[in-house]
């Protein structure tokens, strides 16, 4: 037996063994959490497991191996637990375990500062194991079990600091939304399996679903996976729950778990459901994606809490991913597989990119939190001086997420734009209008994202410290820094060598797209990215970086050599205003004020009020801003009110006599029997 084949048959058991190892570590951590070296051990083993998983998945994807399957006699007795490793699972395994490995590395340092390690350590490896198992599952039961396991272990992590009342509320909301999502997925799988109950993914793939049921499955999947990923209007739990967890877990939840949700959507809609029957599926997903992208970034701009800002920003990026997926669905519905390949590549590329820079930013926030104990941007500032390396890594992450060339965020947005630009070929009228409108939304969200991250980085790291805590910060430890710089380097690499990433994604795309993929990019001159030959649009991140470096350094060299290199320190000029107090700086709120006036007055009904006391009155002037969350007020509050009203209405049932209860049971039985008679 040749080594490659043996490896291929061996890799799946090995892949499954590692999540088991993680689970075992989780159990061990219950005992080890109290010991000082326990954290190191747990995170070290998690790091090891993630790196091995990453290597195996990478090997599988790059070697282009055929899917391997494995059935274990676990779970439902007549079904067993099916596992399968194909290109799609391998790609998402890479995303999950890259994030997992870096978060573990970061936690080697960061975990030392944990106040309640016994509430974090057991669940962290369990969470990682749950995500890995979702990706490997090959039947509905295993998938849902792993999905729920992932949800519950992450819920436990959200509740790690449950003493804070806001966290308890976040955990409650998260639990409700997670249950709702799983219910929707359960129903979707029920419809997919059909009356015979073929719950194995292979059986579902082989079977056909009627168009009406298929549409219902799409909607249910959007509800189930979309609520986990944070699609508007199902996002409400996300910006509360993600920041509540410790920062390395926030990085995992925002950077990685949302991608597992995207995986769920792709697996069900692109793989299990087969061909999309109707074009409006694509339109629906596209419109949702566009709205999610813009609303997400607008919400993010209004936040002052650094972690919450990042969490809202995750919502935006999920929107961008779903724009790509929606385009791919629309193209596939019209048998335009070459275009669908471009859209899918863009979406998957953005999945990878977002997992990189969002993890980086959350981990950077963790470093800030350790150094200052503050998440509120209004109390930070000037951190670039005590924490230059963290600042550099955070800056790279901010630039990448703002889609600035030559970093990676730009490449995936560029690919999405290219996919939008080839869409006038779509025959449906509604799509013809929807696509440019979504293009405008995407452009708007990209520009707003840059604003958002000028705010996030500028207010937190630049300027002067706004509180003693910020003034007394020190640089974070070496483990954390190395984790940050691994991610920053990957952001840069994926940005300047996008062709290689696109080639790596090709097997996944062809799996989901009936064999069509983008052409190979690695043999292009200078590794230029050429998505579609006849469109002739090209981008070369490597050369852009090269030219920028060359011209920047040439300018610096010539100026310092020939003109002047003298520099002197002095007080800030500020148009002649002396000794400005740090409180005079622009704050996060004032930075966002123009945006709040332009967009917020429409979306959030933002109202500003200035109360200026009359001259002679010594009261301070007050400035008030009122924002209203349209999604919460229009969507959730009525439902919550209705539930409360209904339950208080039915509350009297709690105080009935036993005879009344019996008569209720009896009545219900009779009604059911009558129903059966009438149904016949």
């Amino acid at each position: 037996m040749p080594a490659g084949v043996r490896f291929a048959t061996m890799s799946l058991p090995l892949l499954l063994g590692l999540p088991m190892l993680l689970l075992a570590v989780g159990v061990y951590a219950i005992a080890a959490a109290q010991r000082p070296e326990g954290g190191r051990q747990v995170y070290g083993i998690a790091l090891f497991a993630c790196v091995v998983l990453l290597a195996l998945a990478l090997g599988h994807l790059l070697a282009g191996r055929a899917p391997t399957t494995l059935t274990l006699p676990l779970g439902l007795p007549w079904l067993g637990a099916h596992f399968r490793l194909d290109a799609l699972a391998a790609f998402f395994l890479i995303v999950v375990n890259l994030g997992g490995a870096v978060a573990s590395l970061f936690a080697l340092g960061y975990g030392q500062h944990e106040r309640a390690p016994e509430r974090v350590l057991p669940f962290f490896p369990a969470f990682l194991a749950g995500m890995n198992l979702v990706l490997l599952a090959d039947d509905a039961f295993t998938f849902l079990f792993a999905w729920e396991f992932m949800s519950l272990s992450s819920w436990a992590l959200v509740m790690a600091h449950h003493q804070e009342p806001a966290n308890a509320r976040a955990g409650y909301l998260y639990l409700v939304m997670a249950c709702f999502g799983t219910l929707a997925l359960l129903l979707a799988f029920g419809l997919l399996a059909g009356p015979d109950g073929g719950y194995g993914f292979a059986a579902i793939r082989a079977g056909t679903t009627s168009p009406g049921f298929a549409a219902l499955v799409l909607v249910l999947t959007l509800l189930g996976a979309g609520s986990k990923a944070g699609l508007v209007p199902l996002h409400v739990w996300l910006p509360l729950a993600h920041p509540a967890a410790p920062s390395h877990v926030s990085a995992l939840m925002s950077g990685v778990m949302t991608k597992v949700a995207v995986y769920g959507f792709i697996r069900i809609v692109f793989d299990l459901l087969g061909e999309p029957a109707l074009w409006w599926w694509g339109g629906l997903v596209l419109a949702l994606g566009g709205i999610t992208a813009v609303l997400g970034v607008l919400y993010a701009l209004m936040q002052h809490d650094l972690k919450r800002l990042l969490a809202y920003h995750t919502v935006e990026n999920i929107g961008i991913i779903f724009i790509g997926l929606g385009l791919a669905l629309a193209f596939q519905a019209n048998q335009m597989y070459a275009s669908a390949a471009l859209a899918l590549t863009a979406a998957l590329f953005h999945v990878l990119n977002h997992s990189l820079f969002k993890s980086l930013l959350f981990l950077g926030t963790g470093a800030v939190l350790t150094a200052t104990g503050e998440r509120d941007m209004e109390r930070l500032g000037g951190l670039i001086h005590p924490m230059p390396w963290t600042a550099l890594a955070f800056l790279i992450g901010s630039a990448a997420i703002s889609a600035l060339p030559p970093l990676n965020g730009f490449v995936s947005e560029w690919l999405t734009f290219q996919a939008i630009l080839i869409s006038p070929e779509l025959p449906q009228w509604l799509l013809k209008f929807l696509v440019p409108a979504v293009g405008a939304l995407l452009a708007l969200s990209a520009a707003l994202a840059a604003t958002c991250f000028v705010k996030a980085f500028g207010i937190t790291f630049l300027g002067r410290p706004r509180s003693p805590a910020a003034a007394g910060a020190v640089e974070t430890d070496r483990y954390s820094l190395s984790a940050l710089f691994v991610l920053a380097a990957l952001c840069l690499l994926a940005g300047i060598l996008p062709g290689l990433v696109v080639d790596g994604l090709a097997p996944v795309v062809s799996l989901l797209n009936g064999g069509a993929r983008l052409m190979a990019q690695h043999d292009r001159p200078w590794l230029t990215l050429v998505p579609v030959v006849d469109v002739k649009s090209t981008y070369n991140g490597l050369l852009v970086l090269l030219f920028m470096t060359l011209s920047g350094f040439t300018a610096a060299f010539l100026i310092h050599r020939l003109a002047s290199n003298a520099a002197r320190r002095g007080p800030a000029w500020d148009c002649g205003f002396p000794d400005a107090n740090p409180a005079f700086q622009y704050t996060a709120g004032s930075f966002a004020q123009p945006i709040r006036r332009v967009f917020g007055s429409i979306v959030f009904q933002a109202r500003e009020r200035v109360m200026m006391p009359p001259p002679g009155d010594l009261r301070p002037a007050r400035f008030e801003v009122k924002l209203r969350d349209p999604v919460w007020e229009r969507g959730y509050a009525p439902v919550a009110h209705a539930v409360v009203a209904l339950s208080s209405r039915f509350n009297y049932l709690q105080y009935l006599t036993i005879r009344r209860y019996l008569s209720l049971v009896f009545g219900a039985l009779v009604v059911l029997l009558l129903g059966m008679v009438l149904w016949r």
Partner: protein, 221 residues
């Protein structure tokens, strides 16, 4: 199909849509009236071009009427009214130009979405003309809905009527008599409206529609 004739017709009809957008963007009355004159001028050119390519002489008459009445007389009259009412310097408080323009873009999309599938059999020129004309009509209505000043309402109404003429020019075979009667009815409408404006102004000291609304509220109580 995409010859120069089509291109110019497309350009002029599209120009009317753009002029309607410019109307939406204005918040000063005199600028609004000037843009309306431009709107009418583009209409004249569009109708004239239709007359040329369809070889329909009566359309030249339509264009001529439009030029005299809509591009010259009505704007002049409106300018005079505005000056006599003493409101030529007032800024109209518009509730967000961006929102209006967004709504306008959606209306254009709607017009095209409605018109193009319906007229699938006709030739490309007439289809596009009709779609643009409907867009101009809808934008005129939007202008009337979003403005508070009575003079802006008049301008919205006139631009709406320009859209109707554009549609009539694009769809071949509108009789000349109808054209002329429409043109005159519009003129009479202007006179009537003008008279009413002065009467309103005498009664309420303002031509702001809100003032009239509050008056009505007061009566109802």
């Amino acid at each position: 199909m995409h010859g120069l004739a089509f291109d110019i017709a497309h350009f002029l009809a599209g120009g009317m849509v753009v002029a309607s957008f410019l109307l939406l963007y204005q918040d000063r009355l005199s600028a609004l009236i000037n843009i309306f004159a431009l709107h009418s001028l583009v209409l004249v050119l569009a109708v004239g071009w239709q007359a040329y390519i369809q070889d329909a002489h009566h359309l030249y008459v339509t264009a001529g009427i439009a030029l005299i009445f809509k591009a010259v007389i009505i704007p002049t009259a409106l300018h005079r009214i505005v000056r006599q009412l003493g409101i030529h310097r007032t800024l109209e408080v518009v509730g967000g130009v961006g929102r209006d323009m967004l709504a306008g873009t959606a209306l254009v999309a709607l017009a095209i979405l409605v018109m193009l599938p319906v007229t699938a059999g006709a030739d490309a020129l007439a289809r596009e003309d009709l779609a643009f004309a409907l867009a101009v009509v809808l934008l005129g209505l939007l202008l009337m809905v979003t403005r508070q000043n009575a003079v802006s309402l008049v301008v919205g109404f006139m631009s709406l009527e320009n859209g109707l003429v554009l549609a009539a020019a694009g769809a071949r075979g509108m009789p000349l008599a109808v054209e002329i009667s429409i043109a005159f009815s519009v003129l009479i409408a202007l006179i009537v409206i003008g008279v009413f404006l002065f009467r309103i102004r005498e009664r309420f000291d303002s031509v702001d529609m809100q003032a009239m609304d509050t008056f009505r509220e007061g009566r109802r109580k």
